[in-house]
Symmetry: C2
Subunit: 497 residues, 2 copies
Amino acid sequence: MPNTSEQFYEKCRAIHDLQEVQQLLEWDMQVMMPRKGVDQRGNHQAALATAIHEKVTEPGLGGLIEELAARQDLGIGLAADVREAKRARDRAVKVPARLVAERAQVCALAQVAWEEGKKNNDFAAFRPHLEAVLNIVREMARAIGGDQNPYDALLDEYEPGMTEGALTATFSDLRDRLVPLLDKIKGARRRPSQDLVKRPYSLAAQEAFSRRVMADMGFDTEAGRMDVSAHPFTNGTFRDVRITTRYQETFLNMALFGTMHEAGHALYEQGLDPERYRDPAGQYCSLGIHESQSRFWENMIGRSRPFWRRYFPQLKAAFPGVLDGVAEEEFYGAVNVVEPSLIRVEADEVTYNLHIILRFELESALLAGKLEAADLPAAWNEKMRSFLGIVPPDDREGVLQDVHWSVGLIGYFPTYALGNLYSAQFARAMRRDMPDLDERVAAGKLGDVKAWLNANIHVHGRRYLPQDLCAKVTGEPLSADSALEYLNAKFGEIYGF
Amino acid sequence: MPNTSEQFYEKCRAIHDLQEVQQLLEWDMQVMMPRKGVDQRGNHQAALATAIHEKVTEPGLGGLIEELAARQDLGIGLAADVREAKRARDRAVKVPARLVAERAQVCALAQVAWEEGKKNNDFAAFRPHLEAVLNIVREMARAIGGDQNPYDALLDEYEPGMTEGALTATFSDLRDRLVPLLDKIKGARRRPSQDLVKRPYSLAAQEAFSRRVMADMGFDTEAGRMDVSAHPFTNGTFRDVRITTRYQETFLNMALFGTMHEAGHALYEQGLDPERYRDPAGQYCSLGIHESQSRFWENMIGRSRPFWRRYFPQLKAAFPGVLDGVAEEEFYGAVNVVEPSLIRVEADEVTYNLHIILRFELESALLAGKLEAADLPAAWNEKMRSFLGIVPPDDREGVLQDVHWSVGLIGYFPTYALGNLYSAQFARAMRRDMPDLDERVAAGKLGDVKAWLNANIHVHGRRYLPQDLCAKVTGEPLSADSALEYLNAKFGEIYGF
């Protein structure tokens, strides 16, 4: 007869394995599934979600968790596993099946309405669906959090331990210091141009170059794969991690930095502890920490001077004739152009965070009932004007651009900006441990970067809460300081102020 | 509160949906999965199999089945669903979990031992594993069938209602009439040559040609896809049916007839009743009937004279220069060469059945304890000599060539030959309904063939037992007559006797 912790792990790992299958269904749907398979896939997802929900909520697991949680003698690993299993189970138990089904239905309709609304630039048609989503999300937050601040109850799923209050403090600080930085950039006399990355880059060579960089980063192609999809994403874990990318012939950034971004996510998954990746605390720490890994590779490495010292000659060779006579410095400027723009996913390092803070402030006000859905477009446009100095010509390029709210993801956007903040903090810590980091990157030693991330971030999985992991690795709590220091130094140099 | 039959269907369909997911895991493993993902995939399969087993065996479903089975007023559809759900559940309930786990373990080891044994031409190393497989399979047959003939208990999973006795009668008849046919062919003066299909056929053009034929057959590419794998197979159902093929530059038959074979399977799945494909009796009738569909398209159509009347000019155009000066008649002979050979999967229409009967006779004797595993190679070779007049130079090309026995598939081989017999019976019935069948095929109206199969076979799913479906469609019970009539006529004409 297996003992309590053995029984606990057996149940948790079976749940984990089925969750991996859920991910595979999602990947297949985006990348491989024939068009008409969509209804069957819906049935697959529903049947699997039900089976998982049954296993998560069955009383036997609850009893094991209670028994273990009551003990004082758990080691740090088992304690973390019990904590995470309890978090997941509590959420699942607290939400009645009726609400889960209703949420799925409301969001399915809302997503279709969002697609239509975006296509037709018709926010009014989407508005009742958004209201329905907000109502059901509020109800879920109450079911999970009781009297707790509803936004915190939602946030806890994506960024365990994070609160609206902490986000408000950090993001306000970030916003108040980013806007003046952006003003300085707007007013600078030195102005790099994006023209260099908008020349015709052959698709086959783009793929080959992206794959080379991905391999240099240490992505194990025998433990993962790369395909094409409409919206790039990373899927899977440990020894089966799949990323997607997309190519645009006259815009080098899309595939190259997109691949580095997703490969950054993938290295995290491939870097999890082999003995623990199926355990509750063996998976990735949080969405914010996950995003820190993608943004680290995309920006801290991919858009860095030493990276291009190494790769610019290779890039020139890979695209004969395209970059003749172009200096490395000029190209470095081209991949780092800062320009207020309307679309979040196309934003540069400086303005990206402002896009996120805007969404955070709006969704937080919506959830609290301080902002009506009907007033959302105007509020969106006003914040765009105030943060970025531009206003969308229509809602399609404004409030209707992202899918997230329509599928009930409230409390999710902040993790994107948290990723940027964490990545800057991690970069500072990495430099502390490797003062010659720039020289190593310029020498092509990307493996040293990966090894540091493996040892300091990846292997810990979810053993620590994200804020605790940050403190452990960097010696400091979450803060906007490192990001602002990094952005000011980098763009001050590029833009000459 | 849903009524009994609604509850019954809800449970059955959830099980079906999870079984579709099982299939997808298998497809992905063969076609897409990165190499190092294999251990995780094992975990996925185990977790999903357990979840399905729990749902199949849970008492609630058992009660619903009992309640419905006791009623006298079920319509034919519901009655068939209850019968099939009961069959599947009874098998699952009767086999203890210990035996399922033991079988999985024994077969996993045996498969590895078979691979090694085949590579090293070492039957002795594989023998103890084969004995272990036979023991566990015997134990399963006893658990399922009690005092029933153990071979019948196994067979019932693949070919419901079929018995060893019926097979012995039909296969003996078939064998006793095939051997003289083969002798006539061996002694014929007219001898077509395979050289024409062994010229260099460009791989890209092979793929394009195969896809064109597949489309002409009516395979819906929006409800399926075609990829490459080491061993071709068909996977999935209804609106997500995936086939694989493989290409050999100097052997046209492999990809072309392989694709037609798998597309034949696929048309069956795409042709299931849209309202019923998730129900217990809504799926394919049996493996024998499934194989009848693949063999029908591969042989009755793909290797027919009218097919090549239509496609030979297109083939010539698709491979410029390869078939200059070749007459249609000559090419028709080339795709129909009969030649005793060692390897089942490469066998022609006449000798293929003898390969199967050999395996049936041997596995039947092994299971009954009338043949010792140690004596198997000699028995194999003796039957090869007696049926085909050739003897394998070693066990690699003899008794070790197939994976089936190592993975516990006893009672499975016969379905391949049943497929041939059924396909010939269906062809006769089709000709009865469409006397101008040849003219239609020669005019490229493959859609008429598909429509007949859709209406007479596919849409019924598992409503009738295979033998009953055969009788309903052809007016006759299973028999070797149609196949022998077809083979004698076709090859008498080709070989001139």
